[in-house]
Amino acid sequence: MTETTLTHIGQTEPRPVGWQGIAADWSSDQRAFKNVSWGKAMMWIFLLSDTFIFGCFLLSYMTARMSTRVPWPNPSEVFALHIGGSNIPLILIAIMTFVLISSSGTMAMAVNFGYRRDRRKTAILMLLTAVLGATFVGMQAFEWTKLITEGVRPWGNPWGAAQFGSSFFMITGFHGTHVTIGVIFLIIVARKVWRGDYDIGRPGFFTSRKGRYENVEIMGLYWHFVDLVWVFIFAFFYLW
């Protein structure tokens, strides 16, 4: 009984709109996020804290790049691939971007089918998302290997400012870790959907609480965030 009172989303009273509504929600001496479940609200707050972490990484990269007297290596050339006798700039990064965007698309559709109680399609789309995510990590591993064999180290590289290596490994490494964790998370939730855990209300392994199809959406929030971070890394690190 206590479980339901904690988990369920209470009925929402009619409240004022706009800024007055925000003030009313926050000053109501009750829960501030009226029709948002705690699971979702907490995922959003976690993502907010993660935003600050990546924000700090990108900021330290900006500071390093702005304060070095040595020219910054040209990412367009560094990340070029030699295909068919000519150098194509940034081609691997572009493909990685498309792969990650596609995985976001399949994830969004998985959430949709989850709410329609279509277990099969939800699980398949989530596994497809996981496969695309794993592909992304694989391509990143290829990129790291290529750069390391070319002599990029956290303390130096053959083309210019020494901070290039440390910024690159730090930012893309942390992002790659997020993608890897996301893939594991996806496989776990996909298995639960496939088994029908959310239909029969089977208690979770660690929490012993009944999962709902909203868990798929919460999982999706994390995955879209990983894609979102890549948008910023792509713009600031690779294109700038």
Partner: protein, 132 residues
């Protein structure tokens, strides 16, 4: 555009609460259900915008035009992902502002670090000369 199903269900839950309080718990779950078409359209736009930002590099556009184009495409992509894929467009404003406003404050940090790195650069030029 797909209207907020969340609000519709909220109303539904309100009615259910009056009729049968016990059943309200089961019905109160807020759904984020929108037509698949919407996701496909956004997906296509994300592809187009990514291709555009790649083209900026491919054609070697430089200077302020490059930077402003990169930023425009970046913000459009980020906006689409947050608003549609993450359903922020249909969430309650109290949550939206709680999540969207704090990252904006990072811009203050950016301004601070711009001054800081300018100072570092100046110091390096003064004490280490023009070499290395």
């Amino acid at each position: 555009m797909a209207e907020a199903t969340a609000n519709g269900l909220g109303q539904h839950a309100l009615h259910a609460a009056h009729e049968a309080p016990a059943a309200a718990v089961a019905h109160a779950e807020v759904h984020q259900e929108h037509p698949i078409r919407l996701y496909l359209v956004v997906w296509a736009w994300l592809f187009i915008l990514s291709a555009c930002s790649y083209m900026v590099d491919y054609f070697g556009i430089h200077g302020y035009l490059r930077w402003s184009l990169i930023l425009i495409f970046m913000m459009l992509k980020a906006g689409l992902i947050v608003a549609v894929f993450m359903h922020m467009a249909w969430e309650r404003l109290a949550l939206t502002y709680a999540i969207i406003l704090p990252p904006v404050l990072v811009l203050v940090f950016v301004a601070m670090m711009v001054f800081e790195s300018d100072y570092t650069l100046l110091t390096r030029m003064t004490f280490f000369g023009a070499g290395s």
